[in-house]
């Protein structure tokens, strides 16, 4: 049955490549910081990655709440997609932060409040992704992860304000500083370009991941509703009807 062949969209890949290149060019052409030198360019990816992680986890919270309200699996898949991308962006922010920290602070890692809370946020959302794999029952999976997805978002303000509320090695926010941005205008514009590009990348990734999640759910449902008992038959050779 060739008609079941799914056509997947290509445009998100192109959008991601263009937006990524855009960020790279912008962050490489702006003047470096007087104290950090060339290292300051890391900020143009580190900061958007961290912000988009916040946004992604906020979207997971919203989509999870919408699932609990509407019981529509589309919201469940949106919550999953956003959480997964959020984990990716958190990892990117942590990794780039470490590369910046070694030459600046002198260490790759230290347990100050910002770094500790960010790593907890990372592992909690990895836990969210793991929780989704604990059952094949779509209703149970969606309900469990939706509750988790709503509760876990409390960490986002905790991570963001940690540098203001507590004494940390990590510097306070530059752009969202309560006393006004401590950054040159050209750098602010570059950072905003990078944030816009990252937002576009996020949307494109969401599109691809939701598409994939829908296909995954279709396969799962097809497996569960197809011929006879499933248990104990896992070793049976798969049918070769496809493509024949």
């Amino acid at each position: 049955m060739t008609s079941t062949q799914h056509r997947t969209t290509v445009w998100p890949w192109i959008v991601m490549a263009v937006a990524g290149l855009h960020t790279f060019v912008a962050s490489m052409t702006v003047s470096p910081d007087v104290v950090q030198g060339q290292l300051s360019r890391i900020m143009y990816v580190h900061v958007p990655a961290a912000w988009l992680a916040y946004l992604a986890f906020g979207v997971t919270m919203f989509a999870s709440a919408m699932y609990l309200w509407k019981k529509d699996f589309r919201w469940d898949r949106r919550a999953l997609a956003s959480a997964e991308i959020g984990v990716l962006f958190t990892a990117l922010a942590i990794g780039l932060g470490m590369i910046w920290a070694k030459p600046t602070w002198g260490v790759w890692w230290t347990w100050d409040a910002r770094l500790t809370l960010t790593s907890i946020m990372f592992f909690v959302y990895l836990g969210y992704l793991a929780l989704r794999r604990t059952t094949d029952n779509l209703d149970v999976r969606a309900a469990r992860s939706a509750i988790f997805g709503v509760l876990a978002v409390v960490q986002v303000p905790l991570v963001h304000f940690s540098v203001i509320w507590w004494r940390t090695l990590h510097q306070p926010p530059t752009l969202l500083n309560p006393e006004g941005p401590a950054m040159d205008t050209a750098m602010v514009i570059t950072l905003l370009i990078a944030v816009a590009s990252f937002t576009v990348i996020y949307v494109a990734m969401m599109f691809k991941r939701i598409e994939l999640a829908r296909l995954e759910d279709e396969v799962l449902v097809a497996d569960q509703t197809s011929s006879g008992p499933v248990a104990g038959q896992a070793v049976t050779a798969p049918g070769l009807t496809k493509g024949s």
Binding site: P32, D33, M43, T104, V107, R167, Q171, T174, D184
Partner: protein, 136 residues
């Protein structure tokens, strides 16, 4: 397995993990002490962190040690640091040193450079006095 055990055991585990986290987190929340707080402490061997700006003109470098003062809100403490300082170490920059307070000097073996939130292309726009006094 009783039905309630399915909920009680994970709940106890989650509470346990949270307690461990909160206990460890409370020490992470205050990453460093100010010179005033260090001076108020009893001399001893306990490890702590001290942060402040390196006082201009106070740095004396020897073979394996660096002696300097760190200052915050006009209160300075002298530091004897053993080891190579990080490459951004210079007069006027913020540092965190780790070690113990002997009543007169802070004896340190680990040093981190604090970077502030300023991003400036031109040295003239850089505000050196932004963090001369930390609140709280």
């Amino acid at each position: 397995m009783k039905r309630y055990a399915k909920f009680v055991i994970p709940a106890v585990a989650i509470v346990g993990v949270l307690v461990v986290l909160m206990v460890n987190l409370s020490s992470a929340l205050v990453y460093y002490n100010t010179p005033a707080e260090v001076q108020a402490r009893e001399p001893g061997q306990s490890r702590l962190r001290l942060a402040g700006q390196v006082v201009a003109g106070s740095v004396i470098e020897a073979d394996t040690t660096v002696v300097f003062s760190v200052q915050d809100c006009d209160i300075a403490v002298s530091v004897v640091h053993t080891g190579t300082p990080p490459q951004l170490f210079s007069e006027g920059i913020g540092v965190v040193v780790e070690g113990s307070w002997n009543g007169e000097e802070f004896v340190s073996d680990t040093m981190l450079v604090m970077h502030d939130e300023q991003y400036r292309a031109d040295a003239e726009d850089y505000d050196k006095d932004l963090h001369t006094c930390s609140e709280s």
